[in-house]
Symmetry: C2
């Protein structure tokens, strides 16, 4: 009864004092007195809040208001997906489809509306992909940056963060599960097509480009991930 309450009261404290991200919170002894609870209970509440990204704890330094990022959501999504995968569900495919559904919807609204500055940046990113593909390096980070920059034009920080969270969760799970990386050259060409499409302002073409891009990832996926429950997946691990 008390534990849930403590979390709420600490959250209320943050709200009431209008504390911004990075602002210091009372120390554990201070919270003990303020909340009228033992150190142990206070710590459990803080741990829970930390897990939600509301609070940030630094050993020997203090407790602070967290960055309020969507990192915990990534964590949760990733775990849920991994757990589902190992139980034979096609959870990773669902996660990919989630991204595909949302991004195809957004990219069509975005076509032709991207600021010139972002277009320049996207060009540079695809060039970098080319270069990375040529020397056989991984292009995960650049891929991430491409998608992030692409949707920046939507002018909604929250939306961008959510999309990045989906990307992160997907990427983390895929690497955790040791999925095969896709062909860098194909990926590269598809990103250039997406960029060209949104630059031309052709919404349908942009949507199609995104769909093809995801189709490619999906194809790579189905070689490792089971499409139906309880499919064996020992063929090549």
């Amino acid at each position: 009864m008390a534990a849930r309450d403590l979390q709420e009261r600490i959250k209320k404290l943050i709200i009431d004092r209008r504390l911004a991200s990075g602002a210091p919170l009372p120390t554990e002894p201070e919270l003990m007195e303020y909340l009228g609870a033992s150190r142990n209970s206070v710590r459990e509440a803080l741990k829970a809040l930390q897990a939600m990204g509301i609070v940030e704890i630094r050993h020997g330094f203090g407790t602070y208001v967290g960055p309020m990022s969507l990192a915990p959501m990534i964590e949760g999504l990733a775990f849920r997906t991994v757990a589902g995968h190992y139980r034979g569900e096609d959870s990773l495919l669902q996660l990919l489809e989630l991204r595909e559904a949302v991004e195809t919807g957004l990219v069509s609204r975005l076509a032709g509306r991207i600021p010139d500055a972002d277009l320049v940046e996207l060009d540079a990113l695809v060039d970098r992909m080319d270069e990375e593909a040529a020397r056989g390096a991984g292009l995960a980070e650049t891929d991430r940056a491409f998608h992030a920059t692409l949707y920046r034009g939507l002018d909604n920080v929250l939306l961008c963060e959510v999309l990045e969270a989906f990307w992160d969760a997907f990427h983390r799970v895929r690497t955790d599960l040791g999925g095969e990386p896709q062909d860098p050259k194909v990926t590269c060409r598809q990103h250039r097509e997406i960029l060209d499409a949104v630059r031309s302002g052709d919404a349908m073409r942009a949507e199609e480009a995104i769909r093809e891009h995801f189709g490619n990832i999906r194809a790579r996926l189905s070689t490792t991930a089971p499409q139906s429950p309880h499919t064996r997946h020992n063929e090549r691990v």
Copy 2:
């Protein structure tokens, strides 16, 4: 150092043993021995996992694998939005725009593809809205059900859950902040328009209907929520 580790090890335990939602976890004493940590540390780890929805703790009963729902994400999003609002940001508006952006994108893909059974259900829901509006009752739950049923046709459980999570977060924050409810009759008419549009298979019309619906909510919002940072909001609280 140990704490972060404990969480990971408990997660690993769930993965390795292929535990499904609702499956029982070892008791605290058992975990103490298995993890080689004190009761306190084990509990802190469990609390954190509980906050992420990975674990579910029932007093006097036991610890279980959680439902892996997106409830923690709702919690986090809601808090982030409330905190931002009180600090003068237009966080609630951003959350609404997130929903609008995603739903407009999805509804156009959905137009004309909704199973007949779902259409019947949607009809019934709008009828219920009518009835609720007539007798002056709140139609929040019905609104939620409408949106949930609408996107069910996308055939992606994860996606539906995410949309519901956004709805929940938005609704929770709006009621927490005491925002004015919108005009039931207008809301009702707009939902019927959305339904008619997707039934007719006209993607553009469906998109427009959704946009108008959200435009309505947005208008109600701007009477209470500040549109720009550090706007006073004492005029009518």
